[in-house]
């Protein structure tokens, strides 16, 4: 018996050694260290709470909250949860719940589709319970497998069993394994943030222009900070998160950061997501003159020469007025350009797309005034601004910023003189994307928005500005002097500042050249006198 036990023990040891160390020793003389995860302090596969079958998102959240007891409460305070934000400057109530844009227009009456990007489960209409802890979606931000998906149309719920969607379409959405995903949670990443932020406006790169899936694992040329082979910043490296609240805002951007680089322990450091937060207010060490530029020009203006640089086109225009056409058989139409990109859809109208786009430039002081459903608008030759960017050369708060200006044509009410929020997404009789009927889609959408509708609609030209701040190029790709200091200046439309070469002021030019001439005369004259006088001696 004793011998048998010893033999078994020896067998166990030898077989274990062979299995674990054998292949390594076969290839290298030095044994490799035991694999160690450095990106997390916990292996969630080991937690009993997660060793179960999960059939829904809220079941996963309940398990998470057993240990992370305060997390849901923290999420409840954030923009990512509320989709609502009160701008302290303008007093406007903003957030996705309220604002209108000129892409897919509005989430009102389209909740089940749009809330696939909400950090919650089950927001299908205005009755959503914002106080529910189990409705918080932990996996949206903490999935590391890249397999967690919340398809549009399911009110922010993941699909756990193969499901035909839309019903009767024959298209199957594959169910995902929530248990595997829950056991692999970790820090947020470019992939998790990007699942929504790369796809704003309904597709990869559509909305922002400076954010698309090329940033998931970018090269240095695409983004010097996120370079997957180099600095490898995640979104959270700059958008420093505190108690689940992510720093940085599209509603109140920091246009001019005069607070300097952030220092640990220093109180009231402001927005950690600005360039200045790391680089300070005098970042150019070798050419001091560039630091003078940095007092009036946002870093992004020179360091993001073009956006949509990752090989993914961004939408530049969207004309809803041409939506609704059908082919001879009454079916929806889809047209593509030579590169296979959709440029017309019956559901949405005409688009134009572009890559490597030079931004437009504007003075910007961080104030953004939105045109909301309650605001009156007038149709004219001028485009109606969906968001008006504040700024001037003389207010002391503005910098010259690069912008993506997205232009479109969208429905509005010519009697009430307001924008319109149509019911677009949805597999019902009134959804525009199904039936292409504005007369059905608009009344439902406006009712869900709680806004009056006269019964008449027209289309109005609009524009919306997006400050460009991602896709920072390597310094050798930053703009050269002549990009601005020339007659074909990028800053041709910027008023209120004198830009040498771009601008001509006869008096100033005459004075300047006279000084140059007199200086040269002095230098050569002095030299000539020295030569002549030395020969005399």
């Amino acid at each position: 018996m004793r011998h048998a036990l010893i033999r078994a023990a020896l067998l166990l040891c030898s077989a274990g050694w062979l299995v674990t160390a054998g292949p390594v020793l076969a290839e290298e003389s030095q044994p490799e260290p035991k694999p160690l995860k450095l990106t997390t302090t916990a292996d969630h596969t080991k937690f009993k709470e997660l060793q179960q079958t999960f059939n829904s998102g809220p079941e996963v959240t309940k398990a998470c909250l057993r240990c992370h007891t305060e997390a849901a409460g923290q999420i409840h305070r954030t923009k990512h949860w509320k989709w609502e934000y009160l701008n302290p400057e303008t007093k406007q109530t903003l957030g996705k719940k309220t604002v209108v844009n000129n892409f897919c227009i509005s989430i009102a009456s389209n909740y089940a589709s749009c809330t696939s990007c909400h950090v919650g489960y089950g927001w299908k209409d205005a009755s959503f319970d914002f106080a529910s802890e189990e409705n918080v979606d932990c996996l949206a931000c903490h999935d590391t497998t890249g397999n967690y998906k919340k398809p549009p149309g399911f009110a922010g719920n993941p699909v756990v069993k193969d499901t035909e969607f839309p019903p009767g379409s024959g298209k199957i959405i594959k169910g995902i394994d929530l248990t595997k995903i829950a056991q692999k949670v970790g820090k947020s990443s470019r992939d998790t943030c990007g699942a929504c932020h790369f796809n704003g406006g309904g597709g990869d790169g559509v909305k922002h222009g400076d954010m698309d899936s090329s940033l998931a694992a970018p090269t240095k040329d695409i983004d010097v900070h996120m370079d997957a082979e180099g600095l490898d910043f995640t979104c959270g490296t700059c958008h420093k998160t505190s108690s689940h609240d992510v720093a940085g805002s599209r509603y109140t951007p920091t246009a001019k950061d005069s607070k300097g680089a952030h220092v640990r322990g220093k109180a009231d450091n402001g927005n950690p997501a600005t360039c200045v937060a790391c680089h300070g207010n005098g970042p150019h060490k070798s050419v001091a003159r560039l630091n003078q530029h940095a007092t009036k020009i946002a870093c992004q203006t020179c360091h993001i020469p073009t956006y949509a640089r990752g090989g993914i086109a961004t939408k530049m225009t969207w004309d809803w007025s041409t939506a609704g056409q059908r082919d001879a058989e009454g079916k929806h139409i889809v047209k593509k350009d030579a590169k296979g990109r959709i440029v017309y859809e019956s559901r949405k109208g005409d688009f134009t797309l572009a890559e490597n786009v030079k931004p437009e430039y504007a003075w910007f002081n961080g104030n953004v005034q939105y045109t909301l459903l309650t605001d009156k608008i007038e149709k004219s030759e001028q485009r109606t601004p969906i968001n008006k960017m504040g700024g001037s050369p003389s207010d002391g708060k503005s910098m010259i910023w690069p912008m993506k200006v997205f232009r479109g044509s969208q429905p509005y009410d010519p009697v009430n003189k307001t924008l319109i929020t149509p019911h677009t997404a949805g597999n019902d009789d009134t959804g525009f994307w199904k039936n292409l009927d504005w007369d059905k889609a608009i009344p439902v959408g406006m009712k869900d928005s709680g806004a009056p509708y006269s019964g008449k609609f027209d289309f109005i030209k609009t524009e919306m500005s997006w400050p460009i701040t991602h896709m920072v190029a390597p310094k050798d790709k930053a703009l050269g002097c002549a990009e601005c200091h020339s007659k074909q200046s990028r800053l041709a439309g910027i008023q209120g500042i004198y830009i040498p070469v771009r601008d001509n002021n006869k008096l100033l030019d005459t004075i300047g050249w006279s000084i140059v001439f007199l200086t040269m005369l002095g230098v050569f004259g002095h030299g000539a006198i020295r030569i002549v006088s030395s020969r005399k001696h």
């Binding site: 033999r7 077989a15 290839e27 397999n147 992939d191 082979e229």
Partner: protein, 128 residues
């Protein structure tokens, strides 16, 4: 018979023990290595780039198991090895960045990315 049973039990237990310390492949690191090393080289070779989604999971598994690169002229493993990374790291940032990663871990990372990005994988992927 008794000895065979003991041996089988020993191997099974050892496998369980090794599984407890099994490497959890990092598909994101595999993604960077595949694109920065494999694709960047393939792009300038006559064979051209190979999208992960050009093969099924089973095909990728079979390819990696066979370990035949360039139709058997050399091995796949050698292009993931530390020696290879050391040889190209002066001109390849990914090779430099992952210079110290154990060979098997990096191979597992690449395999995880290919499995995920395969035609029938969870997220079919291109080379870009």
């Amino acid at each position: 018979m008794k000895f065979t049973t003991q041996l089988a039990a020993g191997v099974a237990l050892s496998l369980l023990a090794s599984a407890a310390f099994a490497y959890d492949a990092d598909w994101k690191r595999g993604r960077v290595y595949y694109r920065s090393v494999c694709t960047s080289c393939h792009a300038v070779q006559p064979v051209g780039t190979i999208n992960p989604s050009s093969k099924t999971k089973a095909e990728w598994a079979a390819y990696l198991k066979a370990d035949k690169h360039a139709k058997g002229k050399d091995t796949v493993k050698q292009y993931v090895s530390k020696a290879y990374r050391a040889s190209i790291k002066s001109g390849n940032k990914a090779a430099e960045k992952f210079a110290a990663v154990p060979d098997q871990e990096l191979l597992d990372d690449v395999a995880a990315f290919l499995t995920k990005g395969a035609k029938d994988g969870d997220a079919p992927a291109s080379c870009n």
